[in-house]
Symmetry: C2
Subunit: 706 residues, 2 copies
Amino acid sequence: KALKIQRKWLARWVVMMLIGVGTAAVATVIEVSIELCAKYKFYTLTELTKMCKEDELCLIIPLVVWMLINSVLVCLGCLLVTKLEPQAAGSGIPQIKCYLNGVKIPGLLTLKALLAKVFGVILSVSGGLVCGKEGPMIHSGAIVAAGVSQGRSRVFNKDFRIFEYLRSDTERRDFVSGGAAAGVAAAFGAPVGGVLFSLEEGASFWNQLLTWRIVFASMTATFVVNVVLSAVHGHPADMSNPGLISFGKFTDIRYRVIEIPIFLLMGALGGLLGAGFCSINAKLILFRKKNIRTTTAKVLEAVIVAALSAVSSFVCMYVISDCAKNEVQGEHRSGRLKFTCPDGEHNMLASIFFKTPEEALVDMLHDKTDAYSVRSLIVFVPLYLLLMCWTCGLSVSTGFFIPSLLIGAAWGRLVGVFIHRYVPWVHTDQSLGIYALVGAASQLGGTVRMTISLTVMLIECTGDVTFGLPVVMVLIVAKWVGDLFNGGLYELQIQMMGIPLLPWEPPEMSYDITAQNVMNKPVAVFRTTETVDRIVQVMESFPHSGFPVVEHYQPGNIDSSTETFGRCKGLILKSQLLLLLKRKCFKPRCGSANLNNSNSDSIRLEDFRDAYPKHMGLLEVDLTEDERKCILDVRPYMNPSPYTVTQNTSLPRMFRLFRGLGLRHLIVVNDRNEVVGMVTRKDLAKYKLKSRGVNVELQKMHIHWE
Amino acid sequence: KALKIQRKWLARWVVMMLIGVGTAAVATVIEVSIELCAKYKFYTLTELTKMCKEDELCLIIPLVVWMLINSVLVCLGCLLVTKLEPQAAGSGIPQIKCYLNGVKIPGLLTLKALLAKVFGVILSVSGGLVCGKEGPMIHSGAIVAAGVSQGRSRVFNKDFRIFEYLRSDTERRDFVSGGAAAGVAAAFGAPVGGVLFSLEEGASFWNQLLTWRIVFASMTATFVVNVVLSAVHGHPADMSNPGLISFGKFTDIRYRVIEIPIFLLMGALGGLLGAGFCSINAKLILFRKKNIRTTTAKVLEAVIVAALSAVSSFVCMYVISDCAKNEVQGEHRSGRLKFTCPDGEHNMLASIFFKTPEEALVDMLHDKTDAYSVRSLIVFVPLYLLLMCWTCGLSVSTGFFIPSLLIGAAWGRLVGVFIHRYVPWVHTDQSLGIYALVGAASQLGGTVRMTISLTVMLIECTGDVTFGLPVVMVLIVAKWVGDLFNGGLYELQIQMMGIPLLPWEPPEMSYDITAQNVMNKPVAVFRTTETVDRIVQVMESFPHSGFPVVEHYQPGNIDSSTETFGRCKGLILKSQLLLLLKRKCFKPRCGSANLNNSNSDSIRLEDFRDAYPKHMGLLEVDLTEDERKCILDVRPYMNPSPYTVTQNTSLPRMFRLFRGLGLRHLIVVNDRNEVVGMVTRKDLAKYKLKSRGVNVELQKMHIHWE
């Protein structure tokens, strides 16, 4: 027994290491593929534009080629996602958040989803969509974690017979937290930020031991990505590639106390822009739900966006045509395009559009004050913002961290240029990096409204702690301002999915709402020994995932309103009942003789574990007419001490039970311990505080749960 | 009502800001006072040694002066702590941890404790004890938070009538978390690290909204300290003093993959040393509990340690007498002492001993490879370690973060010198900073066993994220190795205090222990209407802080073992009962006529709030013989839906209830909802997993709770 505990302990650490390595491998594949694609694509385009020396009409050729490349790649990516696994669309972060919160989403953590996600993001980033590859890394990490921790694959029908004792809901959820953290760590080179992300978004219960393991997974991921990418780039021992994105080294950027109000204003602006983005996005999701339903329509929309991205940026580059002198500068000098500029100069907008968003962001943060003309930036920001709005929510695998940062950096730069030109004594430093950074932080913060994890991620990306203070302040202001209008992007997306996610705290003014007001009744209950027939009937008519087990109960008169449903003895899960029925663990005392007696005791804890996490339907259970008359004794299998509350328990108290313990159902009993109702997450999530002008009132929302 | 919610919301933010400012003010006072004292003291000593040009015997004068200064200062500090508030001894971190975990410690958060803490730490650091000022900052921040959030002072008997609605256990605990975080932020200039510290050590329930406020408090503290200290040091707009300690700027330190195993070994060494320190410390605490009980003895011990610190370092400096050439170097060049060295040189050990530990640490991290001779370091490490062991646990206000870091940095440097000398191809960089840093991290990590918050704190102190990876790895290894031997320092100290702190997870193998096994019975219960006489009697004989309220119960035959104690109707707290008795809220139907009828309804929620947080004793309640015969109806005041569990609930399930919801007592009922027992924190904290060789078994510890 002691050995088993030690093996379990060791297995947990080993699995976390494997998760780190696996996530890092996925990250490397994505990074290298996108790098190659982007290189080849932009090389082709550059060559094609170079061929058009004087003849401007000839520029139509690179435009068409660009459109074609983008459309084909995005079309493939969209087909992959829609056909293989629709859950792989978008960043997957809201879904992972739901999963960590205790809501199961079918198909989310499968091998198919991983394939669709990874190759989908490669195709959509290479296809020139306004998106990044960082968000999907979080989902990928989570899938890797879910797969590795089970030690088997259902698709390949292969069971390695390792980590068997880790097959349970709680363990799996812990590993998925680790995977999400490793994903962030691999994407941003931010191990601590990753841990915080997974705690902030997922954990409802801070557990130090688990935190250690999560730290280990994210560290492993960062380390492996660092070593492998450094080796790929030709300097193996140097460890200079901590993640998929690095903001580059900021050297000696200073800011003065007097600039802090400016930063705060920028935070407010970011909050406004973010809130706008979120509400447009919510409207788009609704629109798509109604009008874009078929695969053809989805692919068509994606292809249109891809083509439009190419055309609009090309037209802008041509129309604006701001040129800057080429100077011999250090790094990050790819994507420089002469275009219609005179010799020795390059097009400013092309140096944003002719590279991946990650490269553009690094340049935006580090380039000299006059690297981009005001005109170019003013055109770029709204155009890119619109394209991002449209892209986010397409049926392709996309992230929007980097585009948000890029837009923020661009308008941050604009603010910086303005300050530099009209009140030069405020900002004495030559570089505009700090303005770009603050703008980037406020744009992203205004959109996702994450707090401390985003701060740490940004700090880890810049590699410098001195920006911590302005970044935190800006993020807080952005969140405040954004929250005046709506919830963060993930919140809205989760709301749109119709998932009952509980907020952090019970709504105010809910103290006079009691269990009696929110509970569901009549309750579907089972007696300790119940006929198979009734079990099947009840499960067919009630979609619940758990049922109270009672004594002294006569079924039949279920609709009498004052009735109680027998004395509470325990709780049994639907999944357990299904397995019991499938294995035919009936009492031998039922009439039919062809039942094997030994069956009744043959089911064990291991069997329940082995069935995890696949969910059976009722259809998979085959029962004869005779078997339906048998009797099932649920007492050996039920949970004998479920959490219960009395009728007059207040809503906040139930809320804390659900939130703090991650419950899914709660039995409501009267003071004689008789079942009177059931409360689920949905019943609590309904209550929201709404402000109407100066008045605040508690509303019961009527959401249509799917 | 809506207005009230908004005012509450605003008040919470305002209080957090005030906490930040207040903590920063305390930090500034401590910093500036210590700076002045240290400057004056070391100036005097330097002048005295300079006077002894040739005559070595004359060096006895500075030695005696040093001893005297130290002894007097430490004597004052010790008197302050023992006389004013003994809870101010040590760092206060274990106590704060207990408080945040739900255990109340009288005197911990009072104005007296703050005064003793602040002036105590100034005196002990100036008095040359081997201690730092950072640990006490956390306690100070917590006290500031507790005071500010109540908006009144009992000592000055002044009630500002603001923040009244924040007077509750939960709110106060939230603010104390914020104060602790602000303390860390002010001490280390690490706002994010502070937040993580308070979450890691205190929170059992991650709450995003609270986290935001804590971030705000720590940020405010960092910001104010930064501005004020920068102004004090003469460059107000520069913001270069983020905290009380900064590790200085590391420029371009590199490490190679091949060095990582070395770092890991250093982590293991740190774990060993830390475990040793912890176990010596635990033994010392026991020894002191037995033998050093009077104020005189405590002061005497402190004075001896102070004098000894001076003598031993002086003797070392004299005996070792390693000299190094003075070079013209940039910063941090205070504390350079010629001593017995030839002209143009200085004593190496003196440049550690002749300054505050903070300054010594910064030098240790940044000085050139040959700044300290191997001999000096080899003498310094064990001497300082011994002194630290002895100092930690004295009745003075001390922290041990900085001394731990200093010792670690010293032996880390030793390792670095060794590598540099014998395998120079491993470490190609000239600077030994990374070795000093890794050593410092592993020493501290091996002692306190904190995880992610310590990482972030160290990263924020160095201002460079590239050290994150080695630091995290080293901290994990140090924790693993240390945990093989014993718990972390705080854990041990809390154990020694006899406080039932629950670990993070229920012990393994405890699934077959049920509520029936751990519960206390007989239970002291009250009927819904109870005679005052019985209430007083029960409260006199049972020290519990909460009592179940029941129906259908006949007191008297309390010791019958199979008995139940009536049907559970609610729970009433001792503090509520005391207030009810004091206000004489009895039922008018009791015999005496001199009772004012209106009393029975005159008590309200506000009255309970107003009484908070002072705890009355039973002695304060004056009852006449007649009043004792009255009847008290507790129903309007009790909690009508307390958390209950059934007899066969497993220990891990109860554990999660206590841990996740911060409970103090849990009523055990049978399946007819009749009270059969009570479970408290202590009952759960008793079970610990013990490993004996290869066997692991669950033990019920017999701790004598005080």
